[in-house]
């Protein structure tokens, strides 16, 4: 039995249209996106080396000491991504010494003009058979984070302290360095 059109059509149209008209987006606040920020923490390996005693032993009369240095550019932290978002950083340097001689290390950060902007002195005792582990952690808070952002190169100055025994090409032991940076970012749209 067909149902009369006119009787139902207005009601149905009203129902559907009112559902559409009444629909809305309630209780939302899109301006909250202003507060959006990401705070990832990144661990990145930095410089490292392995220096065998046998190599130092090739230096004649090394009981009086000897100094070597090497530097590397690290043109990473002056990039806009770090410059804009880096809040805090820590550098960790870890020397492990199994050589029977002590060392003095100095890690120097340079800016673009090659002017030293920070230095981290580290003393490494001689090993008496067990590995000597020296860890130095340097923290750059918000107040001094600009140092890292200005950094363009890093130099490791390594001095063999004067002392005995005189290392020979067949001397045993290794001095190694491991280092890493922990970078605390705060990424927003300011």
């Amino acid at each position: 039995m067909p149902i009369p059109t006119k009787k139902y059509r207005p009601y149905l149209l009203l129902l559907l249209c009112s559902m559409l008209w009444c629909s809305c987006v309630k209780d939302v606040d899109f301006s909250q996106a202003e507060d959006f920020r990401l705070e990832p923490v990144m661990e990145v390996s930095l410089v490292y080396f392995d220096l065998p005693a046998s190599l130092i032993g090739e230096i004649p009369d090394n009981t009086t000491g000897y100094t070597v240095k090497d530097s590397t550019k690290i043109e990473l932290f002056s990039e806009p991504f770090f410059d804009d978002n880096l809040q805090k950083a820590t550098f960790t340097f870890e020397f492990t010494n199994t050589i029977e001689r002590s060392f003095s290390a100095n890690i120097i950060l340079y800016n673009e003009a090659n002017v030293p902007i920070d230095s981290i002195p580290i003393s490494i005792e001689a090993s008496s058979g067990i590995p000597i582990k020296v860890t130095s952690i340097v923290t750059y808070n918000e107040a001094d984070i600009q140092t890292i952002k200005n950094m363009e190169s890093l130099e490791v100055v390594l001095s063999l302290d004067s002392g005995t025994p005189n290392l020979q090409p067949d001397s045993e032991g290794v001095l190694d360095l491991k280092s890493a940076g922990t970078f605390f970012m705060s990424i927003d749209d300011k």
Partner: protein, 474 residues
Amino acid sequence: MTNKQAIAFLLFISGICTYAQNKQLLYNFTEIPQSLMVNPGTAIQNRGYFGIPVLSGIYVNAGSSNMSVYDLFADNGVDFNAKVSNMVYSLKAGDVQRVNQQLEVVNIGFKIGGHFGKSYITFGAYQEIDFFNYWPKDLAILAYEGNAPNIGRAFNLSHFNVKGELLTVYHAGYHKKVSDRFSYGVRGKIYSSIIDFTSTKNSGTFITTEGENNFYRHALVSNVEVKTSGYASLREDDVNGGRDIVNKMMPRAFLAGNLGLGIDFGITYSPNETWTYTASIQDLGFIYHNKDVERYTLKGQDAIEGIELPFDDIFNDTGLSNNWQELVDEIEEAFPRDTIRDPYTTMRPVKLNAAAIYNFGGYAGKNACDCTASGFDGLINSVGLQLFAEKRPKHPEVALTAFYYRRLAQALRIKATYTVDKFSKKNIGLGLSTHFANFNFYLLADNLLEYYNLAKANNVSIQLGFNYIFPIRN
């Protein structure tokens, strides 16, 4: 638009809806000529029709599984970043954000072969936007936490899986009513792609582990590619503002873009007047992108532990090596940057619909049996089940719909649906088709329970249109 507004807009878009393309209300709604677009073999209730240009078929759907706009932007005093955190940890790599929109420009159909003709022709064109993104879970967590709390965790690059396209579809269809029991239809399509970006077959991992020579070892194995067409030319220097972009895109809408071919086909089988079975396949086709192609790749593998200071070399020849440059060179060699312009092919998202329908109640129309024109579909009530499946990059999206359909009067038909899919278990839809004089108006909307606050909806779709109908003469 500031960056923040853009982010808010993207989050909004990604938050609005879920799951589209499932036109569960339109499928088998035979009074609406556009139901032929979902099943070219559907029963036809008219001698001919034409869609009112640009107003005949407007369809919008957006969806986001497991996350709604409200979850993110609710004005409830909860810290926004806490809500973002909740989103990052609650969404899975299989969750999708999608938008699908279609606009008919022309749609015309008519019976051929005179009053007793059994064949029917349709043709037309519509514009379509399709955006489909899988939540890039691992990359989101990497961006959110960084690698520091995730030493030893392999971040999966295959989670990056996104596809978007803007295209025009030209189509021509043929429908044949073989008998009162059986009809079929086919439709050929030419796709004219305006813009496409596709990155759906990525693989690789990024992992930070304890190193051998240094604290950490950072390893990247990457096979990531983003293919684009129609995009490179929009970045050219002479393209400034919307007008230039439209001028560049317009010709591509008219077959000057990247072209593709596809077909739809479908059947309706009514073994008796109480049972009807229908099935259709849509968009079985491809697009060949060879114009204005740019493909960006990150392919290769490398593992680094930092910069080695080669003191051993210094002892030997006191020379400083450029360690930094060596590292940069190593990375650039491992991941050669290249912009490739080779053609590529994309498959359209093929869709399957199938339904079993039980018809009951009295006959529509004034006469006891008014079924001369449309076979056994003269009963005023129908209930049934519909299955929908759509192929997407990772796996098919599937939905099951139960429906009730009623002819309330000669000129008023309604259909109510209840749909279950992975996004919603309470998707209720209502559709209406009405004739004023010879004009047909239809309005179909689903997820009605969410309409009181659209922000809470995971998925919304609306479809409406106007047609002029040439009714069947008795």
